[in-house]
């Protein structure tokens, strides 16, 4: 087993990397034939190096926001900028992580093959994977402690393990923004604690982690920023301590 630890620096963890800013400006989006926009003039900005919890009751537009940022859904109005450029021009910077229930677990694929998919934006359909690609894949699996699982089929993994595999794919992609849809669902308390710590570390290395999340009580321990949504409208945004106030939460959840 190679331990590629010190040879390469992640793009985002590179000391020369300047902090990128995600700017969401007057963003509205709607599903076809919906009466109301699902996202209504969201406006906020956040730098990489942070973890952002997108919170709100069911149907508030949490998943929709992640889908828009991932390019799975078009926008109606407004724009999303990353380091001053339109986000959809920098697709490989963004990694969207599916929920376990959205994945076909019976698909014949090993952990390593799944992580290797993260190299697709760099390789395209035809270029053969080189030494650097293998190194990135090894390092991603090493970082997430799944190197010993690499020959397993994904159907043999637990929920937490599968999530780490998808995170490893995002790292192998050298993604700068990680989008996670309800990553804490189905994890027990120690599992949730470990995931929260992991997301914090990934952000600390220079990435921007955005996740939908619904537990008001624990948000501040896993995330440093929060965005409150209610029926697609922004009810609050900022560092958790200032945002998750009694008043704001009442407006959002009542």
């Amino acid at each position: 087993m190679v331990s590629p630890e010190d040879h390469i620096c992640w793009g985002a963890a590179n000391p020369n990397h300047h902090p990128h800013e995600l700017q969401v400006r007057e963003l509205s989006a709607a599903y076809p034939r919906a009466a109301q926009p699902t996202l209504d003039r969201l406006h906020f900005s956040i730098h990489c190096g942070h973890t952002l919890a997108v919170m709100g009751p069911n149907g508030a537009g949490k998943s929709t926001l992640l889908n828009v940022l991932a390019g799975l859904m078009g926008t109606m109005n407004g724009e999303v900028l990353w380091d001053g450029r339109a986000l959809h021009h920098t697709r490989r910077e963004v990694a969207w992580l599916p929920q376990r229930s959205q994945v076909d677990l019976s698909f014949p694929i090993t952990v390593r093959e799944l992580v290797e998919m993260g190299r697709y934006p760099a390789l395209g359909p035809w270029r053969a994977a080189g030494e650097h690609d293998a190194l990135m894949v090894d390092k991603a699996m090493h970082t997430l402690h799944i190197a010993d699982l690499q020959r397993r089929q994904i159907r043999e993994l637990s929920g937490g393990q599968l999530q780490r595999v998808f995170l490893a794919r995002a790292l192998a992609q050298e993604a700068h923004i990680l989008l996670l849809d309800e990553p804490f669902t189905g994890l027990d308390a120690p599992g949730a604690g470990a995931l929260g710590e992991l997301l914090g570390e990934l952000a600390h290395e220079g990435r921007l982690v955005i996740a939908s999340y619904h537990d008001v009580d624990h948000a501040a321990s896993y995330f440093d920023y929060a965005l409150l949504l209610r029926k697609g409208k922004q009810m609050g945004f900022g560092p958790c301590a200032q945002t998750l106030t009694r008043e704001n939460l009442q407006c959002t959840y009542s």
Binding site: V103, P108, W126
Partner: protein, 272 residues
């Protein structure tokens, strides 16, 4: 046995043998795609809908190879798209819409063909008659096969990414809508090319079984494609040598052999 050796010496026997190998391989290869895409049911529906396409083709342009084929292609595309449209615009689930449309289409095809006085040939379209393939038919099968193999091999990496998780593929910037239309068109072409060999009713077997068998034996997607091709070709060629001496229907024998191989693979293959 003497009969069989005599038959083998005829050029038509060689042509049939080639047709078995080529169509078996191509359909087997494509079947991995059908299995991984989990669209076996949909393909079953579309294959039945080829019958009215043939009937309308003959009704409009007279009895001929090209009119039947063109009709089949158009019907396959039409039924797939219309069921998608019906499902999108009503509360009905895609499955139900597809079943209703395909059985109605099938009935329409049967009615027209019988009305045209082609009852004798209906059997050929339902169960195939590979022995009567002309040289032109064989060329069509070659053409479709070469296109399918080339496309699936060249684009295997994005295809697997899309098959595994279409949403991630979209988020990475792959043209997933285009891919799904192209794949559907390719499957319809494979259906049409096997129509001659095993007919509209049995073609589903050839387009699902080899990939399904390989899934039981392998945990690698790429192996499923090549292995599916080899199983499809192997069973078809073996069926050719069995069916003539035993006086069995060749198309049905191919599917029967695939069924036997599937049972064996299921017995020895991977479990949950």
């Amino acid at each position: 046995m003497k009969d069989f050796l005599q038959y083998l010496a005829e050029p038509i026997a060689l042509r049939t043998l080639w047709a078995c190998a080529v169509i078996g391989f191509v359909d087997g290869y494509v079947s991995a795609l059908v299995v991984l895409r989990r669209s076996s049911l949909q393909i079953g529906a579309v294959s039945c809908a080829l019958l009215p396409g043939i009937a309308v083709g003959i009704l409009l342009f007279g009895l001929g190879q090209w009119s039947a084929l063109a009709g089949a292609v158009v019907a396959g595309l039409l039924v797939g798209l219309s069921s998608l449209f019906v499902a999108r615009s009503t509360v009905l689930h895609h499955d139900a819409a597809l079943s209703i449309i395909h059985s109605a289409a099938f009935a329409l095809g049967y009615v027209i063909l019988v009305r045209l006085g082609l009852q004798q040939r209906v059997d050929d379209w339902l169960f195939g008659n590979i022995m009567s393939m002309s040289f032109a038919d064989l060329c069509i099968a070659y053409g479709i096969g070469a296109t399918a193999l080339l496309g699936l091999t060249l684009f295997q990496r994005p295809l697997l990414l899309w098959l595994f998780d279409a949403r991630t593929a979209t988020s990475l910037g792959l043209p997933t809508r285009g891919i799904s239309y192209a794949v559907y068109a390719l499957i319809v072409m494979a259906l049409v090319s096997s129509l001659q060999a095993v007919g509209a009713l049995l073609t589903l077997g050839l387009l699902v079984a080899p990939g399904g068998i390989m899934r039981l034996l392998s945990n690698r997607a790429s192996t499923m494609f090549w292995g599916g091709g080899c199983i499809g070709a192997g069973c078809s060629v073996l069926a050719f040598f069995i069916s003539y001496p035993l006086n069995l229907h060749l198309g049905a024998t191919i599917i029967l052999l695939l069924g036997v191989v599937f049972c064996v693979a299921w017995f020895f293959g991977k479990r949950k």
